[in-house]
């Protein structure tokens, strides 16, 4: 769930607070538009399959994800609404997804979403023509459509990162396997390098040509919250730390670490700025240079952070495995023991009988 997004096309940050979308540029915040409005159903909607109901919006409307391309901005909300805006932030199209969307990507030709059921769908730019792309068995927590549009990378709660071809996502290219808990967030650093963080408190750098991890960094402080990338720097956030790493070739080295006063909710970064949303909720902008964050300043402009909707996503609960069948195996062990004892005593009884027969004959 990303509510802070760096929009490289306008060199500004986009922030979702409740249902409101704000733009931050030069430390000033401006309200752009209110999102999550449930669209009226029109004839344009995809014909519903027999026996299925049209997806209905449900739940409170607050922004859970933002994606940008040159001419458009896509927003997903908690109530299943998916919408796109032009660069004047006029709503261009909106639809209701089948399940709550967990990630969104947009290009000038397509909008792709992943959802809490583990499925990914693509839409045409007017958000009609929905196509099923792929399905994980558990919720998809993050998704990347590669810039060359050849691959769709999805990660799930079952520890997997899957790289599928695009748009032929039925053809899986490879898996990146190494996490031992849900995979929270992934970033494509270059056509050959992927960064991931998981509920196992690991930050892993992957070589995509071999599907192997090249570097694994343990978390400095419990769970990771999110990661961000402004070449060549990576910002990794725990609840109170922002650790900055520099990527040289295929190695990450730490350049700085910042400790915050409050728990971090989300982060976004550009070449020169880092925007940090912390729990209070509070929004701070830092100068960012040579891998170091400094010069914190508050954001000006009218921004009502009290509307911020914080939710602990169910998918972030770590897997609690139902107890194995210890009882069954214990009972089995006892049963086999008893059977063996019976066998032994039976055999001993037979031996005794034979012996007494023998002595009887001899005698």
């Amino acid at each position: 769930m990303s509510v802070l997004h760096y929009d490289k096309h306008t060199n500004s940050f986009l922030l979702g607070v409740g249902a409101n979308l704000y733009q931050l540029s030069d430390n000033r915040a401006k309200l752009l538009v209110k999102c999550g409005e449930v669209p009226e159903t029109t004839e344009k909607e995809e014909p519903i399959k027999e026996g299925e109901k049209a997806p209905r919006a449900e739940g409170p409307a607050y922004i859970t994800g933002v994606a940008t391309c040159e001419g458009r901005v896509a927003v997903i909300s908690n109530n299943k609404v998916v919408e796109t805006f032009d660069r004047d932030f006029q709503r261009v199209a909106s639809t209701v997804a089948i399940k709550r969307a967990t990630s969104v990507q947009i290009t000038d030709k397509t909008v792709v979403i992943s959802d809490k059921a583990g499925d990914a769908y693509s839409y045409s730019t007017d958000l009609t023509d929905r196509k099923y792309l792929l399905g994980h068995v558990s919720v998809v927590m993050d998704m990347i459509l590669t810039p060359d549009l050849n691959f769709l990378i999805t990660c799930d709660r079952d520890e997997k990162i899957r790289i599928s071809h695009f748009p032929n996502c039925y053809n899986i290219h490879s898996y990146l396997l190494g996490h031992q808990e849900y995979v929270l967030k992934i970033l494509l650093l270059s056509p050959n390098l992927l960064l991931s963080v998981g509920g196992d408190q690991k930050l892993i750098l992957w070589d995509l040509s071999t599907s192997q991890p090249v570097q694994t960094l343990p978390s400095p402080q419990e769970d990771y919250i999110t990661i961000s990338y402004s070449p060549p720097y990576i910002l990794a956030c725990n609840s109170r730390h922002v650790t900055v790493y520099k990527l040289t070739d295929t190695t990450l080295t730490q350049t700085s670490q910042l400790v915050t006063d409050h728990d971090i909710i989300d982060v976004a970064s550009s070449d020169s700025r880092v925007a940090l949303l912390t729990r209070e909720p509070k929004l701070e902008i830092y100068q960012f240079s040579e891998g170091v964050m400094s010069g914190k300043c508050e954001v000006e402009g009218e921004i009502d952070l009290s509307q911020f909707k914080d939710s602990v996503l169910p998918e972030k609960k770590k897997v609690v495995r139902t107890a194995g069948f210890a009882e069954y195996f214990e009972r089995k062990r006892k049963r086999i023991e008893e059977e063996n004892l019976k066998e032994e005593s039976k055999q001993a009884h037979i031996n005794l009988q034979e012996k007494s027969k023998e002595t009887h004959l001899k005698g």
Binding site: G51, G118, D119, Y132, L134, G135, H136, V137, S138, D158, E159, K160, S164, H165, N168, C169, Y170, N171, I172, S174, Y175, L177, G178, Q180, V319, V320, R321, T322, A323, G324, F325, Y328, F329, K332, R335, E339, N340
Partner: protein, 239 residues
């Protein structure tokens, strides 16, 4: 040494349906590279590879039939139910004791819907078997079905191009569902096996489920599919 006894089903009773979407406690390797197959097959060597997988192997009937038919091939059954997989395990321990064969077959208690890529590399398997899968009749349970558009991508991933999937069901609706899904999936094609395909011949008679259907004079439907090249990539390469 205590002789391993053949297991009796009455000691391994378990409810037939298990929720594949919940988090049971399984052992599975982080990736195929770290999987230690010698735990399953005492004679397994580094250059060997498991080639056949029976998804939902139940009480092991198919594996017991296939094992002596393909003595050089390593084959594994995946079974989600604890007691049933334990039964199969004990069955093979007993069989191996009495015979020189059966060292190439074993069972793993795991969730095939979630962990296939953890056990198998891309294109590793030559044959996959889906025999008498749980129908999960109710619409709300359809996502528990072992054949779905999403999962077909994973089956296509672990199967080599040219590899085969063998399916059987005694429920016509399930058979039709599988045929529809596989044939509409770009990476699979319906396949008519030649007479020499030994595995195709034992599909119905070898499993406990199949024998029961025969006893009750019911009907089983089979369908076999071949993993083919991605037509999308083939087309792009051609342009």
């Amino acid at each position: 040494m205590t002789k391993v006894k053949y297991p009796q089903k009455r000691n391994y009773r378990q409810r037939a349906h298990s929720n594949p979407l919940s988090d049971h406690s399984f052992d599975y390797p982080v990736s195929p590279d770290v999987m230690d197959w010698t735990k399953l097959y005492p004679r397994f060597k580094p250059e060997n590879e498991v080639k056949f997988c029976d998804i939902g192997c139940g009480y092991g009937g198919l594996l017991v039939t296939l094992s002596p038919m393909f003595p050089e091939t390593y084959m594994v059954g995946f079974e989600i139910r604890v007691k049933v997989s334990d039964y199969v395990n004990d069955r093979f321990l007993a069989l191996r004791q009495d015979n020189e064969v059966y060292h190439n077959a074993g069972v793993i208690r795991t969730n095939a819907m979630k962990y296939l890529p953890n056990f198998f590399r891309k294109g590793q398997l030559e044959k996959m078997f889906i025999l008498y899968p749980d129908p999960h009749f109710k619409k709300c349970k359809h996502k528990w079905r072992i054949v779905s558009e999403g999962l077909l991508a994973e089956y296509a991933y672990v199967l080599k191009v040219g590899g085969l999937v063998y399916t059987v069901s005694d429920v016509k609706e399930v058979h039709d569902w599988m045929v529809e899904h596989f044939t509409n999936f770009p990476l699979f094609e319906r396949y008519d096996p030649p007479a020499e395909d030994k595995a195709a011949q034992v599909l119905i008679g070898s499993t406990e489920e199949g024998k029961k259907v025969l006893r009750n004079k019911g009907q089983s439907w089979t369908a076999i599919f071949k993993r083919v090249e991605d037509p999308h990539l083939v087309n792009c390469a051609g342009t």
